[in-house]
Amino acid sequence: MNTDLLRILPETILVVAGILVMLIDASLPPRAQRRGLIWVAAPGTMLALWASLIQLRLDPGTAFFGAVETSPFTIFFHVLICGIVLVALLLAYDTLPRDSHHQGEFYALVLFGASGMCLLTGAVELLVVFIALEISSISTYILAGYRKHTGKGPEAAIKYFLLGSFATGFLLYGIALIFGATGSTQIYEVAHKAASAQNHTFIVLALMLMLVGILFKVSAAPFHVWTPDVYEGAPSPVVALLSTAPKAAAFALLLRVLYQMLPDLRSLWMPLLWVIAAASMTIGNLAALRQQNVKRMLAYSSIAHAGYLLAAFAGLADKGIAAAAFYIAAYAAMNVGIFAVVTLISGYDEHLPLVADFRGVLYRSPLLGSLLIFFLISLIGIPFTGGFFGKFYSFSAAVGGGAVVLAIIGLLNSGVAAAYYVRLAVTVAQKPENGMSQAALPVPQIGVAVGAALLFTVGATLWLGIAPEPILRAAENAAHALQ
């Protein structure tokens, strides 16, 4: 039983930290500052990250009657998710309105949501998958509507909520059919029985239904319609989190379902994902070209990145999984980073939401301007940044799997994408016009916490771009563990 508890240690720590935040919050006087609760939330996340690393010493295996497992695969994603959550918490500490008295519930929701995401990556029982996915989704629905007194806040939340629950319905029907075809919901047992199952068409149908549910969560086309609205309406620190951590968890689930549960159906799901990858890239990039709002542009860009990532699924098992895992890490580092910078420039209340508003940022705040340009370079995929190796591994995995055309579509799309990234970078570097109100705007303050968060994301993006080998090796170990 002892090792059983060790195998869910990171999730337990996150939940305990969340409960502690709630308890301390309740015991503070009503008008007291709640920002200090970060001293519980951030160390809790670090502790969970450390606990994930401790799990490397355990032998890979399952716990709680085959409900969860620990393996290099789960540890890879645990560390990634805890890292993202840590950065998002630090970002929120400095950017949430200081006169609000409700930061405690923000931190608690982030921590609970993180526990769901971590559990999702480790779940090998479809019942746990379902509940973990709901924990992560419901907490992000609430966080998306955190600015509930603006018109857009609740609108983002309700769109995310309704479409998310709709997609969950499909996932659940898929699970029901898997249970009907194999008589089991444990992923290893399903994989074992699927080959000899009597009603094979049930499994094919179940796969389709589950794909709808999961692809919604990773915002791949044609299930992407919620993304721009939610990213625009949700507060930027929340977007930094929900554009990366739940997606990383959902991609982990997708890898597990496709490569571990139903690898025999590869000939069926590979062409499907081929089409979805190509569609996501193209739709995302073409729509991003005509966006004036920075967050909407980045939302479409994230749809395109989901497409680049799905290209890796065309690869053979070992290369494909490793490339996908690496891409998620690289994407998370640069996307959290760019949303942190955008939060600081636009402000929490987003008084500067448009691309045109970003004019002259480089002169107002040389540091923020150059950071923004740095992350844009990484998103384009220029060498010495994480974005380059992410795309490189993903496309070469696709070529290795025989999907040369998909890799070419990806490269063409990267060219299209460069257009809108460069447009933003050029706007940032333009001299502010004389007499323009922007020149008189105050320089955004960079606090210690957000400074640490930026340092962390820049460091991670550079590290993935200059010395990707250690992470790539971890991703390869993860890929190995999944087979």
């Binding site: 019942l127 379902f130 018109g151 309700i158 909520f161 319905g169 029907y173 249970f179 008589g183 609205d229």
Partner: protein, 100 residues
């Protein structure tokens, strides 16, 4: 004696009627109720399969779906109340500050 496929067909029909409701209706609460209808359809499938395999796990799945549905209802209706306070409408076509 009734073939189990009848139950499964009923379940699929309920699920699809839920999808229709989700697409066609224009009131936030009714859309949400359509999602509940979909979940109920899925639940019937679980119970049917539980009977087919003589496994109680299928029934227990339904318990968990109920808990999740309750949690979703609490959060979803709270969001609906928040949006009603901010915008004084429940019609999806009027909730369009952000264009798709």
């Amino acid at each position: 004696m009734i073939p189990l496929s009848w139950y499964l067909l009923l379940s699929a029909t309920l699920f699809c009627l839920g999808i229709v409701g989700f697409l066609v209706r224009r009131n936030l609460i009714t859309i949400f109720m359509s999602i509940e209808l979909m979940l109920n359809g899925v639940n019937l499938s679980f119970v049917t399969f539980a009977h087919q395999w003589h496994l109680v796990k299928g029934q227990i799945f339904v318990f968990f779906v109920m808990v999740v549905a309750a949690a979703e209802a609490a959060v979803g209706l709270a969001i609906i109340i928040a949006i009603f306070r901010a915008r004084a409408t429940l019609a999806v076509d009027r909730i369009d500050l952000m264009k798709l």
